[in-house]
């Protein structure tokens, strides 16, 4: 070992040089948050170059075309739904909440996970958030959009949707203010609006940077229009930082409230299997788990395809995988308490319904949720596995499927066995149920891909200050 490195810094530099020759930098457990190579200017060049490319990457088209076709399927499904009514779905009696509600909850969890990463970790000032907060925010935005279409579709008579809004009560139709369903509607649209504002506001300095670097007239005009005249003066930065901090501080409780109220939608009623005091935190744990999984699913291919290995390093994968394990354990705790309280509480209908979950026709759904959400993520305790990107992707895909199964179990298994045995029934999803679900996946993916193409994938202004800080520390 005559050429043993003199210092960890030197070892890292040599490793990077070797990796640079091979073209691909594999993530490693001992990676720092930021590899030492790039400067603020080179990072800005790299990120802007992606946005300002004349032609999109080939991989981008390969991903975008099927996503957009799925989105088109959503448009067709919605048009047909408005034409024919919700009878085209599999819902009926007793399962009156079907795919619309379960997919809504599934999407809002994914969106909330993005907000947690972006807002909560901003408030506690962790450095690794800087590289992935833009992705997390885009995920929040398009997750919220995919969730946001469902409540109105679910209404049956969508032309009365405005009854849920605040409006002058000229018809004397006061809504039931004690119902969490009403709170949920308000919370959801507050959340969607706040998400759009938070995402867009955080983008302003980066849009201004792209505007200044754009060469074509159209691009200069479009980015300039959306940058809202941000010039980077001291006064503007001061206002920007103060406002962004306040927005993050508002987003954190808003996201907890939205997902807790979704939990209350279920827990507040006396429906079998739903009345449980842990539902609000239980749903928040699920949101964290799906958020970490989806952000990993986006970040891993992105770092490779967009050559962002300097900024999204092994450290990010390590931290996100650890957070995935933690949220998976929290969810496991919630599953355990759900099962325990059912038998401890002793309500016959609850116990009967739980029996169907555990050894009835919906058994695969229940065990699938446990397998994908709780058991398989525990593989990530093995440290080297956290750096095996295909394995992490498979585990995260499993979590996304598992979270959907969990929602299926909560919504459909509970409803199909109400208190009155004469009302028991089953649910069969129709083509249009699946088409709408696939369509929202298309909406989400199209949105994410469009944002990766036209919006800086890394928050450049935050990254510049992180690079500056790290360089300062290194110099000191």
């Amino acid at each position: 070992m005559s050429d043993a490195p003199a210092s960890p810094e030197l070892a890292l530099q040599r490793r990077l040089a070797r990796a640079g020759r091979n073209g691909i930098r594999a993530p490693r457990l001992d990676d720092p948050v930021l590899l030492p190579g790039p400067t603020g200017a080179s990072m800005t060049d790299r990120v802007c170059a992606i946005v300002l490319r004349e032609r999109a990457f080939l991989w981008w088209w390969i991903a975008f075309i099927p996503s957009f076709l799925l989105f088109a399927l959503l448009v067709v499904s919605i048009c047909y739904l408005f034409w024919a009514g919700i009878g085209i779905w599999g819902i009926g009696w007793p399962v009156a909440w079907g795919f619309a509600i379960l997919s809504y909850v599934w999407w809002i969890a994914i969106a909330s996970g993005g907000t947690f990463i972006s807002a909560l970790f901003f408030l506690v000032r962790v450095e690794w958030r800087t590289s992935i907060n833009r992705v997390a925010e885009s995920m929040m935005l398009f997750g919220a959009a995919s969730a946001g279409v469902y409540p109105i579709l679910h209404l049956g008579r969508p032309w009365f949707a405005y009854w849920l809004f605040f409006y002058p009560n000229t018809m004397g139709l006061w809504a039931q203010f004690r119902s969490p369903l009403l709170w949920d509607f308000w919370a959801l649209y507050t959340y969607v609006l706040a998400s759009v504002l938070y995402w867009y506001f955080g983008l302003l300095p980066d849009l201004a940077t792209v505007r200044d670097r754009a060469t074509g007239r159209v691009r200069q005009w479009v980015y300039g229009f959306f940058a809202l005249g941000f010039r980077g003066s001291d006064k503007q930065w001061k206002h920007f930082h103060a406002t962004y901090g306040i927005m993050a501080a508002i987003m954190a409780p808003v996201v907890v409230s939205i997902h807790s109220i979704v939990g209350l939608d279920f827990a507040g009623g006396a429906t079998v299997g739903w009345h449980s005091t842990e539902f609000p935190p239980f749903f928040v744990f699920g949101a964290l788990l799906s958020g970490f999984a989806v952000v990993l699913l986006i970040v891993i291919p992105m770092r490779r395809l967009m050559r962002l290995e300097d900024f999204i390093t092994g450290r990010h994968l390590d931290v996100l995988c650890k957070l995935l394990i933690t949220s998976s354990l929290l969810l496991g705790y919630a599953y355990m308490m759900d099962a325990f309280t059912t038998y401890y509480g002793g309500d016959p209908a609850d116990i009967r319904m739980f029996g169907v979950r555990v050894h009835g026709m919906y058994m695969p759904v229940y065990y699938g949720a446990i397998l994908f959400n709780i058991l398989i993520p525990q593989l990530l305790w093995i440290r080297p596995l956290r750096m095996r990107q295909p394995v992490v992707i498979l585990i995260c895909l499993g979590v996304i499927v598992g979270m959907w199964l969990e929602r299926y179990e909560i919504v459909i298994t509970s409803l199909h066995r109400p208190h009155l045995p004469s009302s028991w029934g089953t649910f069969h999803a129709t083509f249009w149920d699946w088409a709408t679900l696939a369509g929202t996946i298309g909406l989400f993916l199209s949105g994410i891909l469009l944002s990766l193409r036209f919006v800086p994938a890394i928050s450049m202004h935050e990254m510049r200050s992180l690079i500056g800080k790290q360089r300062g520390e290194r110099a000191a």
Binding site: H275, T277, E278, F282, A334, Y344
Partner: protein
């Protein structure tokens, strides 16, 4: 006031408390069980919460943990007291838990039966003592952090499980018809907040942490106050909304006969006051303000233990409740001050100063 004075004060309080509780047990046997359980339920949050905070800090690092590590370790060192403290309860289980009567047949007898209850109790105590012992043993090493880092994940999982079921056994089952799946989370968070408050209070009196550490402790305290309030509020909101007889019946004795005022004071001291004060950065970084808030939280936690336990007895609050609390805390704080910590690597200066 020197450390020795405080220690002496604790032993005097403990003596008064123990003698008073013993006399109370003889002359009012129907009042003693709940008084002792409330004191025990309140105190146990301190060592267990300290254990949890120390293990979380071993995983995450941060200034806050170094600033209060001596106080957390002192809290953990009181854990063996659980054995003598539990003994009086074994004689009064019949009065405490209606489900333990031979002629009672609760619907959840698969869980609430005496042999299983004893078995679980032994299990909790063995796990807690083993965990506490492992942490103290790790701290005797020159560099305890790698070992603490390895103990932390399984330790925290075990703590979450044991605290959940111990809280169900000890206080939720006072009303065997009541069920709340969030109960363990509420009690666990409360324990962590209580331990943090005691540690901050202790640090303020002994050796106030520097300004930046105080600020971090303030943020952590604010986070725990919010999380606790959120969990407890969700529990009561869901129960109020559903209005089911078995669950509403749990809250009725706790919001009548004067207990509603205690609930109001707990709400003010355990949430409103710390929440609104800790929002201010000036308060977060002020050692004096943090000490005062920590004291308010400790007081609120004592009130809350009485509020959770005493109404289940059907009797009102009395002197015996105060004496039992005095006995348990007198002994525990006395032991915490008496334990020699010099041989352990706990001083903040060793690590990052």
């Amino acid at each position: 006031m020197t450390r020795r004075d405080i220690e002496r004060g604790c032993w005097i309080a403990a003596a008064v408390g123990v003698v008073g509780s013993a006399i109370g047990w003889i002359i009012a046997p129907e009042l003693f069980p709940h008084a002792w359980l409330a004191a025990l339920a309140c105190w146990i949050g301190w060592p267990l919460g300290s254990l949890a905070l120390l293990l979380i800090h071993a995983l995450t690092g941060g200034r806050w943990g170094w600033a209060i590590r001596p106080q957390l370790v002192a809290g953990i060192a009181t854990l063996p007291l659980v054995v003598p403290f539990v003994i009086p309860l074994l004689f009064v289980l019949g009065t405490l838990y209606p489900w333990s009567h031979p002629d009672a047949h609760p619907h959840n007898a698969f869980y609430l039966n005496l042999p299983f209850f004893y078995g679980r109790g032994v299990g909790y105590i063995v796990i807690w003592l083993a965990l506490g012992g492992a942490v103290l043993w790790a701290l005797r090493r020159d560099d305890p952090e790698p070992l603490l880092y390895r103990i932390a994940p399984p330790g925290l999982i075990l703590l979450a499980l044991t605290v959940t079921f111990a809280s169900i056994d000890a206080t939720m089952s006072l009303d065997p018809d009541f069920k709340s799946s969030a109960y363990g989370l509420v009690i666990g968070t409360e324990a962590a907040l209580f331990a943090l408050s005691v540690a901050v209070l202790g640090a303020t009196i002994a050796l106030p942490p520097d300004k930046r550490s105080t600020e971090d402790l303030g943020k952590l305290m604010l986070g725990l106050v919010i999380f606790w309030a959120y969990l407890d509020f969700m529990q009561i909101l869901i129960i109020w909304q559903s209005d089911l007889p078995t669950e509403a019946a749990y809250y009725v004795p706790r919001v009548t006969h004067g207990w509603q005022y205690i609930a109001g004071v707990i709400f003010a001291l355990h949430f409103l006051l710390p929440f609104f004060l800790l929002l201010w950065p000036q308060v977060q970084s002020s050692r004096r303000a943090m000490g005062t808030i920590a004291a308010a939280l400790v007081a609120a936690e004592v009130l809350r233990a009485w509020w959770l336990v005493r109404p289940a007895s059907g009797h009102g609050f009395g002197l015996l409740d105060v004496l039992a609390m005095l006995a348990v805390f007198g002994i525990a704080v006395g032991v915490a001050l008496w334990v020699p910590l010099q041989s352990l690597r706990v001083a903040a200066a060793d690590r990052h100063g």
